[in-house]
């Protein structure tokens, strides 16, 4: 490794950085202020910082607000009626009136089966030629449902919704005293009443958008900062910095402060858009939001800087940030996928990674309010993680060149 050092810090912009080689006596503070100023300028001058703090959060919230929804809506299906009859017609009509399905009608199943392969249909409901005959004879008349298993989640929901529609149809037919369908159907002895707390309409956006804030903070905290130290190594300016009298603590503080500020601004922006733009309630307190976000941001910043320090190369650092920061925030946070449903090793992995503690806290703050039994343990875990990572970071930060 090259071991010469430039006498002037920051060779790329020598004039902008205050001299850091002054003796102490207020010098330390001035040195730190100078470093913070240098990092802030570097951050502000690169338009991509604004992109990640301003444009990307809005884009993400927009996509989660409109694009990611698991609520079925107008699923394309076909209803095949092999032999027309009054019962079959009224069955078809109840599908046509459903807001969940977009129904195509066909006379035989050969005509539509191929569209299940091409993906133009998600399901096919078949009433066989003997449907009415069997009903008339008092036998059980089967209704066949074929679903496209290549999308198991939709397939399962289509099955459930068809079942629900069918059961309503039976009730309606019985109520209309249609001779064929009217058979004594005992009222079920036990019924359920369902209450969903915090989100009575089960609007999936209410759960997704608070989680999306976590993704935004992860991108700024880990992805952006993972490049910061690696860049200095790659360009050779790290050696220049190390040749100055700054301590590792000062070096780190100079890098943490501006990105922390950027992260908090992006967090505030995301929360404002979530609440006022998408109408998601915010039932917690602002101070709890600031406290828990600061703790999470501290973890993610330390992680990003640690990756950066170890990788020393921006491509490797960005891959590291992707694997340890972004992907866990997306998939191991309980934000889209339920953590409890994952196999044990993955569940363990999720519980040593920070995002799940933050996503759970955010969902609680938005929808339930300040619930100490969620926020306190999560906050403590995040603070402990921040402390461990920060110690590792200080140790990994070189004092001088080897």
């Amino acid at each position: 490794m090259r071991s010469f050092a430039h006498p002037v810090p920051g060779p790329s912009r020598p004039g902008r950085v205050p001299s850091v080689a002054e003796p102490s006596g207020g010098g330390r503070l001035r040195r730190l202020a100078g470093l913070i100023r240098k990092e802030s300028l570097q951050m502000v001058r690169d338009p991509s910082s604004f992109m990640i703090a301003g444009v990307l959060p809005l884009l993400l919230l927009f996509i989660f607000g409109f694009g990611v929804t698991l609520d079925l809506r107008r699923v394309p299906i076909a209803v095949v009626i092999e032999w027309p009859s009054t019962e079959a017609d009224s069955f078809l009509a109840s599908f046509r009136n459903s807001r969940y399905f977009e129904v195509r009608f066909a006379r035989n199943r050969k005509a539509v089966e191929h569209d299940l392969v091409s993906g133009r249909l998600k399901g096919v409901v078949v009433l066989a030629a003997d449907f009415s005959d069997r009903l008339g004879r008092g036998e059980t008349a089967p209704i066949q449902v074929l679903v496209d298993g290549s999308d198991p989640n939709t397939a399962g929901l289509v099955q459930t919704y068809v079942q629900g529609l069918w059961s309503n149809w039976l009730d309606q037919e019985a109520a209309a005293r249609d001779t064929l369908v009217d058979r004594p159907r005992a009222a079920p002895p036990v019924v359920t009443e369902q209450r969903t707390w915090f989100n009575p309409e089960l609007d999936s956006q209410y759960a997704l958008l608070p989680g999306a804030v976590a993704i935004v903070l992860t991108l700024i905290g880990t992805l952006l900062t993972s490049l910061v130290v690696a860049r200095e190594w790659e360009r050779g300016t790290m050696e220049a910095l190390l040749a100055t009298p700054i301590t590792p603590g000062e070096l780190l503080a100079g890098k943490i402060v501006p990105y922390f500020a950027l992260g908090m601004i992006a967090m505030a922006l995301s929360v404002v858009v979530t609440v006022f733009g998408f109408g998601v309630p915010f039932r917690g307190s602002v101070w709890a939001l600031v406290a828990i976000s600061s703790a999470y941001l501290a973890v993610m910043l330390s992680l990003g800087l640690l990756i950066s320090t170890l990788a020393k190369n921006q491509f490797a650092a960005s891959q590291g940030a992707l694997i340890t920061g972004f992907l866990p925030a997306f998939e191991l946070s309980g934000f889209i996928f339920e953590i409890d449903s994952m196999p044990t090793p993955i569940r363990l992995l999720a519980s040593v990674l920070p995002p799940r503690y933050f996503v759970s806290s955010m969902q609680t703050l938005f929808l339930a309010g300040d619930v100490p039994s969620v926020l306190v343990p999560n906050g403590l875990v995040l603070m402990a993680m921040a402390a461990v990572l920060f110690v590792a970071l200080v140790r990994a930060t070189p004092v001088r060149l080897e």
Binding site: S48, G119, A141, N153, Q159, W166, E193, L327
Partner: protein
Amino acid sequence: MWQRIRTLIIKELLAVWRDPKGRFVLLVPPVIQMLIFSYAATQEVKNVRVAVLNQDMGIYARDLVAHFEGSPNFREVVHLRADADIAKVIDSRSVLMVVHIRQDFSRAVSAGRQASVQLILDGRSSNASLILGGYAQQIISAYNTELSPTLRGPPPAPASVVVARSWFNPNLDAFWSTVPSLVAILVALEGLMVTGLSVARERELGTFDQLLVSPLGPGEIIVGKTAAAFLVGMAEGTLMVTVAVAFFHIPLTGSVALLYASMAVYLLAILGIGLFISSLANTQQQAILGTFSFMVPMMLLSGFASPVENMPDWLQYVTLANPVRHFMVIVKGIFLKAMPAGDVLNSLWPLVLIAAATLTGSTRLFRRRAG
């Protein structure tokens, strides 16, 4: 000219392969992502904790609780003692659902009155709540059928039943859908990363100027960089398909040649986007963040996180420009549905258009910025 381009391709391949960190980054993260994502990206709900508050001493209530305890979908059924416990366990997220059986339940059932069970769900996990509500309903239906004959004699034959069958994935196994989708997503991610960064790195390190003063013209630089990234991308794709088949045992029912032909077109469309980022970005930071700004929306609007049909109509039109969306249909079709060539073509021609558009657009931009 071809000699020069060949040399550039070799140089590019050496640049990503030569240092151990570069090799590691190309091989290990995609495989880790594939493994973790496959296991994590499931919308199934199982192994969750639920709670029961049973305030009825009767036999019917005890039977019903036993039905809940016997369900394979719950990891643990916690027993609560008082009304106040409901808020405690739900608020702290220690359970996702509470089944509340009130004290007159058994009396109502034995008197032939309709008895009701209250389900309390946590709306913070809206998808899980939806599915759990369904499970509880099924358990109670099963209990009802068991209860009916004992209370009212044998039931009449039902007028009709629903017989459901699932094609292409008979057990509705989530892996079968997630793993092929991941092939599409990870190929795009790696393709974008490699092309997006390659020019930006040379710019940042100053070697790009050296390339420009070499006998290579801007067109040749583009061809060389794209060809190298293309080779890397196809190799990554092969690695993913191999992991899908050998490790996850996903059936590959369709034509492998068709899969490769489509993957090649798809990769070209992605590389066009990567080159576009590359020609705009001055620093690697800009290139990486640019890659992200494309990758995340492309992934979320591809049908992977949620079906395209659920989106509002105007957004569905926007997704037509998304190469991942089209390749997702092809890769799932060829893996699971033995999709015939005609249907593959339906999704392939939009990809050809996207590839033509991104490649010509980014070549123009690149020439302008380099010249």
